[in-house]
């Protein structure tokens, strides 16, 4: 294994890292054994789009379906009671994962997008009005932009974006300046950029925002899979993340909200499960957390998510974060050194396992296609951050995103593949061979 990149600030535990054996965890993930259509072994470096699942998650879900599945909170029978217990146990585990003060502060949603939309529709419409400002960063992904644009269309709020600087970062002074200038009612920002990889100081910015009178929502889609999230230490009002990026199933996400906010908010989706009483003339909402879980919830997905959270917690989110910083820095340095390759993102001390880049003379999709033929799965496109790409001046970038089950050997394969792709696509005086017209 190559020497891990030596990081100076929060990650100087190289002794611990040498003990981290990604190979040991790879065998937990059946899919990582497969080969791609070209026959090459898979190097899965598209984890920021969605991670893979270990057997314990797949087994937990299969066990539910095979052994005790029934609808929750409804039936007076054995299976329903067992399913309800396990579903609520998943909520308790998720609350501990985020260090929430109370279990009822955890709302299971259809995903991170649904969680943010719940805040926009329920809290937003109840607390914001024409002329109020919602402050975002330009690094947000569409799930934390479009719900606010929709709110702007409905009730006339202003949506303001904090720009990034040339180092693909946002300085504290700029955040303070925007908070002071716009006095936003809400500051909604990502804990880590899915495109740049930049990790933002959530606790500090939350303090700034609260001092300026703003409520804070944190998009933790790219943070919860990779580092410790502590909603009480951070002091955030709302936080959202997805199940499928933390080795859990698709179709589930989590909305954390401080109980005082969630209690005061009107219900969002209406239906069964979220009511206390329904009459021909109206309804009254159930208490938390049911109030925000209309309809049959993602029961099996919650049970799968719990298995994923337990799996990650056993490895340790701090350990995962350290390893990803190390392998991310290694890949970043390897690609940065290549001629004709431009890294779109900050230096490794400001990010974790995400390396986005552009190759001269190559469209991002051509690069991804070429890497795929070599077995390397990366993401190419705008990564649901079109405003950010506009700001960078690129229509698309290619992104490699690592997880704890990726190896330094895979990082080496990426670097070599980018090198050969760059060589293949570089202008070399090729001449088109004439056609013989029939």
């Amino acid at each position: 294994m190559p020497e891990p990149f030596n990081l100076t600030d929060s990650c100087n535990h190289t002794a611990d890292l040498s003990a981290f054996d990604a190979e040991r965890y790879r065998s937990d993930f059946p899919i990582l054994k497969r080969h791609v259509s070209s026959g090459e072994p898979l190097a899965f470096l598209d984890n920021a789009a969605s991670s893979q699942r270990p057997s314990v998650v797949i087994d937990a879900m299969a066990d539910c379906y095979e052994s005790y599945y029934a609808n929750v909170h409804r039936g007076i029978h054995t299976l329903s009671e067992e399913s309800t217990d396990r579903y609520e146990q998943a909520r308790a585990t998720t609350a501990r994962f985020l260090n929430a003060a109370e279990e009822k502060e955890i709302i299971f949603t259809a995903g991170c997008t649904a969680a943010i939309n719940t805040v926009a529709r329920s809290w937003g419409e109840a607390n914001l009005g024409r002329g109020d400002t919602i402050l975002l960063t330009i690094a947000e992904h569409h799930a934390n932009i479009v719900p606010w644009h929709q709110l702007a269309e409905r009730i006339g709020v202003n949506v303001v974006f904090i720009p990034i600087n040339e180092a693909f970062d946002i300085a504290d002074e700029v955040v303070l300046e925007y908070l002071d200038r716009y006095r936003p009612k809400l500051f909604a920002f990502t804990a880590a950029s899915n495109t740049l990889g930049t990790e933002f100081p959530v606790k500090r910015w939350t303090e700034f925002a609260h001092a300026a009178g703003a409520t804070v929502l944190v998009d933790a889609a790219q943070a919860a899979p990779h580092s410790v999230v502590d909603v009480q230490d951070w002091g955030v009002d709302f936080l959202a993340f997805s199940g499928h990026k933390v080795c859990g199933p698709t179709g589930i996400g989590v909305l954390y909200g401080k109980a005082e906010h969630l209690d005061a908010m009107p219900a969002f989706l209406g239906g069964g499960g979220m009511i206390d009483r329904v009459t021909t003339s109206g309804f009254s909402s159930a208490a938390l957390p049911d109030k925000f879980e209309a309809g049959t919830p993602p029961i099996v997905e919650a049970i799968g998510l719990e298995a994923a959270i337990k799996y990650l917690s056993k490895i340790g989110l701090d350990t995962i974060h350290q390893y990803e910083r190390s392998i991310g820095a290694y890949a970043d340095a390897g690609l940065r050194n290549l001629e004709g390759v431009r890294i779109i993102g900050p230096t490794p001390n400001r990010k974790s396992g995400i390396v986005s880049f552009l190759i001269d003379h190559a469209h991002a999709h051509d690069t991804a296609q070429s890497l795929d033929s070599l077995g390397i799965a990366v993401r190419a496109g705008h990564h649901c951050t079109m405003p950010l790409h506009d700001a960078i001046g690129a229509t698309a970038t290619t992104r490699a995103s690592f997880y704890f089950y990726n190896t330094f050997a895979e990082a080496d394969r990426l670097i070599e593949a980018v090198k050969s792709t760059r060589a293949k696509f570089a202008p070399s005086g090729r001449k088109r061979r004439g056609r013989t017209v029939s």
Binding site: S37, S38, G39, E40, A49, G111, C112, T113, H141, H142, A143, N194, S242, A362, H363, H365, D366, Q369, S370, S373, L374, R379, G381, H382, H383, C384, T395, A396, K424, F425, P427, S428, G429, R430, K431, R432, R433, R435, V437
Partner: protein, 151 residues
């Protein structure tokens, strides 16, 4: 299949990309149209000069985007010159993919078929009567769902 068969960037593709046939505009074009492919942000403009006897006298393209969209446009303009309108109208999407050569996944077929789509509409778009209707809004006949979203 060997890895090389999976490499769609075969030499003849890269040759057309680097040394394209008739890239540019045609001052005395009789027909023209333009279209885009939101997946890769590809744009293709095609200028045609039709002769009185209903043949494609000249075909030129211009645009930007991925290698597949640009190389396939070069191959297409080269292939259709001298053909009659009927022959070009009968030139199917399958034949376009065959002309390109390497097998493409449904998403990348959109890139390859962009110039083919623009050509088909350009034949119905006389210059002077140029309407810049958004062909991109029409459903392409081939290709899978958009790769663009991540939530």
């Amino acid at each position: 299949m060997s890895p090389s068969e999976h490499d769609i960037y075969q030499e003849h593709v890269l040759e057309h990309y680097e040394d394209p046939y008739h890239r540019g505009s045609l001052a005395d074009a009789t027909h023209a149209d333009e279209g885009n492919n939101p997946l890769c942000g590809d744009v293709i403009h095609i200028d045609l000069k039709l002769s009185c006897d209903g043949k494609i006298e000249q075909a030129w393209f211009d645009g930007e985007g991925c290698k597949i969209s640009q190389a396939s446009a070069s191959m297409l303009t080269e292939a259709i010159e001298g053909k009659t309108l009927e022959e070009v109208k009968a030139f199917s999407a399958e034949e376009m993919l065959k002309l390109f050569g390497p097998r493409l996944t449904p998403n990348r077929q959109k890139c390859c078929l962009l110039s083919w789509r623009v050509l088909q509409s350009a034949m119905h778009s006389p210059v002077g009567d140029f309407d810049d209707d958004e062909n991109s809004n029409e459903d392409p006949q081939f290709g899978g769902p958009s790769l663009s979203e991540e939530s």
